[in-house]
């Protein structure tokens, strides 16, 4: 027997198989513990009077997601450097890769980036391991924070959304401030006014009406000169992002919850009889009036279809419709109107939201300079300029939302301002805060796809609830 050949083959097989474990190296930096966490905040080291030039000649590194808000920020960075003497270096990644990049970077325990963009949901994931700096002490320190920053000017539900006690199930608005709201989105219905006029339709007041209108558009619009148009664009990919916009908004308006909280115990509630009935109706609406190949639909396809006159309605972020509605942006420009969407049975307009926030790396060595950057980026001056001269909407500050120049800019979009003002007070995060949010919502999206595919909603949602009870409860 040729033992050398045998060993060689075994070695070849071993080598080939080793390549099968690429995830291993991603976590090869050692246990990323929180062992140097202390109770004191670096904010306490900042004393004296407030000075924008305090950290001049420092360089802050930012990790940013490719987004119109980011474009507005980058366009104005020179003003920040002139004001503070701080230079900002940044990397911009597309959204598909952005959070993986951020997660891996934060989990490595390095301070590659001092500041970064994140959503409020990410606070639930990045907060408990101690990766996010609590910005509360910085906000409260008058030596670190200028008076003009004006915390009271933020919509209170937005500031609260980034504030959490890090305890699963505990309501938002308590504990540390782990990020600052920077730009946000309410989830409402945008519709094509042309097709509504042609088919004699009115925006839906109830969920039943919404489903019916979606079906009517899909059946009748192609014959009325809207080639290939379907009723309603909603997200459907196997991702957490499918659940949070239209679906969660309508779910909450029906008075439904993802979990019920009793003390520290969370019990999945997506399998209550009411939740099952709603989910069946939602999947039915998609089948009846939704897009073909719905299971691959992300916000991008939904938004594009509204702009390309392929979708009669869009139930998603108002910004997803806004970017199609602005003049010259798409074939549907000038023909898109906004509406709060259907009310729940009790008249509720509870709306879920997404907040692009800015956070600080707890491991940053340049916290004082980073805080000056966050303060400037979420300050009145920059946000007003970004909203008026760029596309940084919806404003997180009341002063910008009420600004005459901003209102003038948005007035040409039918229903935009009225819709925003109608839902703003009822818009909040409708999910229960807990660290397994992404697992729970990804599984929820997969369940929704199975129900859409014809499986029994009751059995699929019972299975989901059982699975989540073990992980979250």
């Amino acid at each position: 027997m040729d033992t050398h050949a045998h060993d060689r083959r075994r070695f070849l097989a071993l080598g080939a198989a080793l390549a099968a474990a690429p995830v291993l190296s991603a976590c090869g930096a050692g246990f990323g513990g929180d062992d140097d966490k202390s109770d004191g905040s670096a904010a306490d080291d900042v004393t004296g009077s407030f000075d924008w030039k305090r950290e001049k000649d420092t360089t802050v590194k930012a990790l940013l997601n490719k987004h119109p808000y980011t474009d507005a920020l980058i366009a104005d960075l020179k003003a920040f450097t002139e004001k503070t003497g701080i230079k900002v270096e940044y990397d911009v990644f597309p959204e598909d890769n952005y959070f993986d990049k951020l997660t891996v970077d934060l989990s490595s325990g390095r301070a590659s980036y001092d500041v970064f963009m994140l959503g409020a949901y990410m606070v639930w994931q990045y907060g408990p391991p101690g990766w996010l700096e609590d910005l509360g002490p910085w906000m409260r320190n008058s030596a670190a924070t200028g008076a003009e920053w004006d915390q009271a000017d933020f919509f209170p539900n937005l500031l609260q959304a980034d504030q959490w006690s890090l305890k699963a199930g505990a309501p938002l608005g308590q504990g540390g401030q782990y990020a600052l709201p920077w730009g946000w989105e309410t989830n409402v219905v945008a519709y094509n006014t042309e097709v509504f006029k042609k088919l004699g339709l009115q925006p839906a007041k109830t969920f039943d009406e919404l489903r019916e209108i979606a079906g009517v558009i899909k059946d009748k619009a192609p014959g009325a000169g809207f080639d290939g148009m379907y009723g309603i664009a909603v997200r459907g990919s196997r991702s957490w992002a499918t659940i949070h916009p239209g679906f969660m908004t309508m779910y909450a308006r029906n008075g439904l919850h993802d979990f019920t909280v009793s003390g520290e115990k969370l019990t999945p509630a997506m399998n209550t009889p009411e939740a099952i009935a709603f989910t069946e109706d939602w999947a039915g609406m998609v089948k009846q009036g939704g897009p073909p190949s719905w299971t691959s639909y992300t916000w991008y396809q939904c938004s594009s279809d509204l702009g390309a006159k392929k979708a009669g309605m869009l139930f998603d972020a108002d910004t997803a419709a806004y970017f199609q509605a602005v003049e010259g942006a798409s074939p549907a420009s000038g023909k898109i109107a906004f509406h709060p969407g259907p009310k729940g049975p009790g008249g509720s307009l509870a709306t879920n939201m997404w907040i692009w926030s800015l956070g600080m790396n707890a491991k940053s060595k340049k916290k004082s300079a980073s805080w000056l950057f966050l303060q400037w980026a979420t300050g009145k001056e920059h946000l007003r300029k970004s909203a008026i001269t760029h596309n940084h909407i919806d404003p997180v500050r009341k002063s910008v939302a009420d600004d005459a120049a901003y209102k003038d800019k948005m007035r040409h979009l039918p229903g935009f301002i009225e819709t925003f003002e109608t839902v703003v007070d009822q818009t909040k995060i409708q999910f229960t805060p807990q660290a397994q949010f992404f697992d729970a919502t990804t599984s929820w999206a997969a369940a929704l796809q199975e129900i859409y595919g014809g499986k029994s909603a009751k059995s699929v949602l019972n299975g989901l609830a059982g699975d989540l009870a073990d992980k979250v409860g």
Partner: protein
């Protein structure tokens, strides 16, 4: 002295490379014995609990089944098509020479890009595939909306990308075969099928098997094509082991548990590679005897 050191210096790059592979592998293996996650940065030793959880989860067995279906399906179709294409190209002609150059184009495209391109082409309302099928009454196919459709579409993209790889290997094999047995068969008036079955195939087997080994092992650890095309959906229908590992380790930040998935996948690939490589040795010996 210098001469005595030379052999050791020569193996340094290989040694470094081996350490570069083995260190994270060993570290990963070590991590699987803990309950390390973002929410538990100071983990406890749990021994083999992660593996127990993996093997008792329905999700694992579903992913394992989907992975095997995908790997067997993709490797089988690519091998058959690749060999068929190689046989056609082996007949020297101008068309063959031109096609040979064109054939490798899919290999030059990153699989993830290919999957994104195919995702657009398979889109039911605006995709070119349904547009072309419309005259045949098949314009409404929802390629990735059903579990079977999603799996078959993923395999089809894999086949599109990697069949040229098999074809090129098989073509190289065909061109290296000795000509005398074929000339003798022609003189004896042997038919094409007889020659193919009795001469070409036995001598070509080692090359085909190398292609099968590469494609089967590569398909077992597929991630990019499926993730870009379906993200593992609809439902869990295309969540292969690599996607499950990625979701657990990166998206859900259960590091130890996610790595356990990759270790299990490694074991599967290792076993498959062992069996196939052993088989390759036997076939190589038989082919040498046939020559």
């Amino acid at each position: 002295m210098r001469l005595a050191l030379r052999p050791y210096l020569l193996i340094v790059p290989a040694l470094l490379l081996t350490c570069g592979i083995l260190y994270p592998f060993g570290l990963g293996l070590y991590y699987t014995l803990f309950d390390f996650s973002a929410s538990k940065p100071q983990p406890d030793m749990v021994r083999f609990e992660n593996y127990e959880t993996v093997f008792t989860q329905d999700a694992f067995w579903n992913s394992a089944w989907v992975t095997v279906l995908y790997a067997v399906g993709a490797a089988a179709v690519e091998t058959m098509l690749g060999v068929a294409v190689a046989l056609l190209l082996h007949r020297s002609s101008l068309v063959g020479r031109v096609l040979e150059k064109i054939l490798i184009l899919p290999l030059m495209i990153a699989p993830v890009i290919a999957a994104i391109i195919w995702k657009l082409m398979l889109q039911p309302s605006v995709g070119v595939v349904n547009h072309l099928l419309k005259p045949f009454g098949l314009g409404g196919v929802q390629w990735t909306d059903t579990p079977t459709g999603a799996l078959l579409s993923s395999i089809a993209v894999d086949v599109w990308v990697y069949t040229p790889f098999v074809a090129i290997l098989a073509l190289a094999g065909l061109r290296s075969l000795p000509t005398s047995p074929f000339e003798a068969a022609a003189v004896d008036g042997a038919r094409w099928w007889y020659t193919f079955r009795r001469l070409t195939l036995p001598m070509l087997w080692p090359y085909v098997l190398v292609a099968v080994i590469f494609r089967f092992m590569d398909s077992l650890k597929v991630f990019d094509i499926i993730y870009a095309l379906t993200e593992g959906g609809p439902g869990d229908s295309t969540v292969v082991l690599q996607i499950r590992a990625y979701l657990e380790a990166i998206r859900f930040q259960r590091y130890s548990f996610g790595i356990s998935y990759t270790i299990v996948l490694w074991a599967v690939v290792y076993l498959a590679a062992m069996i196939l490589v052993r088989h390759l040795g036997k076939i190589q010996r038989k082919a040498a005897e046939a020559k």
